[in-house]
């Protein structure tokens, strides 16, 4: 009869507790619990709940770098008369606390940067008013006005840092041709916005992540009036100068319409935030479905500069059911499990 030592070359250890630093495939007997244990059982990626925001909101701006450092600002309560808020909140991995209020409440605004150096841009201060091109900067305590962007719009896709940011696309009703969507792209250097090479298509609502010189943009295009709709199911890479078309991010019917919802880098990204529960992961070559989120959410926020393997997503539509909630992603890994004979 083949024995375990013959197969593995080791005997099963008799231990009073699980060992630290166990290796995949290692088996031992835990005399403390009376269980035969094994390490290396595959664990799928999944989403768990984080702390709840103090103010439920959708269509808000966001910034952040990790599951322990993120912020949400502005946004609105539920339609049709959802109050637009000036409120901002910061997250430490456990709970949300109050940050400095925006000087003017805005909705459909976009954000990027870090918890101590964030940018809020565009959006509008009243549903009946035109969109804005105002910029505000946050220093970890309070907001100050920055120079205006070049494009009056909202629902822009954003990424990067306060001193090296990128804003693309957007929505600007009521506008002349070409329709209500925007193909403009502009960079922020911490002081001024500068128009750069326009995107090859007009778009809004797209997820975006990465740096100013290595950006990934995709999904989205919720609007029906955008020109070139037939070609909207592509992702776009920006290298600081030019745009290059990539594969389609809209691999599920949800569309990924969270313009503040992309997370990761140009080569390792996670998109979500359509009106469904799917997520799309980009591995540098193609998009594939990743772990479903527990409840559908649209127009959500994310810690946009967090690694795609440790994403943090919060706020979003519908309010109130998900508008104050936070979810945290854990990438696939391995775990220790009991071995059972039954």
């Amino acid at each position: 009869m083949t024995t375990y030592p013959q197969i593995k070359g080791l005997r099963v250890k008799y231990l009073s507790a699980d060992p630290s630093g166990a290796e995949d495939g290692q088996v031992w007997y835990n005399s403390g619990t009376g269980n035969l244990r094994i390490d290396g059982i595959a664990l799928a990626g999944s989403w768990s709940s984080g702390g709840n925001l103090g103010t439920a909101r959708q269509r808000s701006g966001s910034a952040g770098t990790s599951q322990t450092s993120a912020m949400s600002f502005g946004g609105a309560a539920a339609p049709p008369n959802g109050a637009i808020t000036t409120n901002s909140e910061t997250y430490n991995g456990t709970s949300w606390s109050e940050g400095g209020n925006l000087p003017v409440g805005k909705v459909n605004l976009s954000g990027f940067g870090t918890e101590s150096a964030a940018v809020a841009m565009n959006g509008r201060d009243n549903p009946n008013n035109p969109f804005l091109k105002t910029t505000e900067e946050y220093n970890g305590t309070s907001w100050t006005g920055g120079n205006a962007s070049n494009t009056t719009s909202g629902i822009r896709s954003t990424s990067g840092t306060l001193t090296a940011g990128l804003a693309t696309g957007g929505f600007t009703p009521p506008s002349a041709a070409p329709a209500e969507h925007v193909n403009n792209a502009e960079e922020y250097n911490g002081t001024n916005w500068s128009n750069v090479t326009a995107m090859p298509q007009y778009q809004a609502y797209n997820c975006q992540c990465g740096t100013q010189t290595a950006t990934l943009n995709g999904g989205g295009n919720k609007g029906t009036s955008a020109p070139n709709v037939a070609t909207n199911n592509i992702s776009l890479d920006y290298d600081g100068t030019n745009w290059t078309a990539g594969p389609n991010a809209n691999i599920a019917s949800d569309k990924y319409t969270a313009y503040n919802g992309g997370t990761g880098t140009q080569t390792s990204a996670l998109f979500l935030g359509g009106d469904g529960v799917t997520t799309a992961r980009f591995d540098g070559t193609s998009f594939s479905l990743d772990a479903s989120i527990p409840a559908a959410r649209g127009e959500t926020n994310s810690a946009g500069s967090a690694a795609s393997t440790s994403a943090l997503v919060y706020a979003g539509y519908p309010v109130p059911s998900v508008g104050n909630s936070t979810i945290e992603y854990t990438a696939p890994g391995t775990q220790i499990k009991n071995l059972s004979t039954s």
Binding site: L43, A44, S46, W47, S48, S49, G50, G51, N52, A78, P79, P80, T94, S95, N108, P127, N128, I155, F171, P173, P174, E180, K222, G223, T224, S225, D275, V277, A291, P294, A295, G298, E299, Y317, P318, S321, V322, S325, T326, T330
Partner: protein
């Protein structure tokens, strides 16, 4: 055999559901604090630990329908421009 447990529970934030929960049983959030939970011991225990209230599927569906209808009514009151910024909430059929 039932596949799901239906219940209502208020999301209290951090650790309301954990990664381990997601490995242990199916969990799907819906409007009106309705949760669809995999029908096993760990799922049932989770709902009890969260002070949840178990519902029949019919009761849970009614709660969701009421919430979605209210959201649709609210959406219908939006201006045409605002409507183009969002999709009308759609009816949800619980699994």
């Amino acid at each position: 055999m039932a596949l799901f447990i239906y219940g209502t529970a208020t999301n209290t934030g951090k650790d309301f559901f954990t990664h381990q929960n997601r490995q242990d049983f199916f969990l799907q959030g819906q409007p009106a604090d309705v949760w669809v939970i995999g029908y096993n011991e760990k799922g049932a225990r989770w709902l009890a630990e969260k002070n949840g209230v178990e519902k029949t599927k019919t009761e849970a569906q009614a709660l969701v329908d009421t919430e979605v209808t209210a959201s649709q009514d609210a959406w219908d009151l939006l201006s045409d421009e605002e409507k183009r910024l969002s999709s009308r909430p759609t009816q949800i059929t619980l699994p």
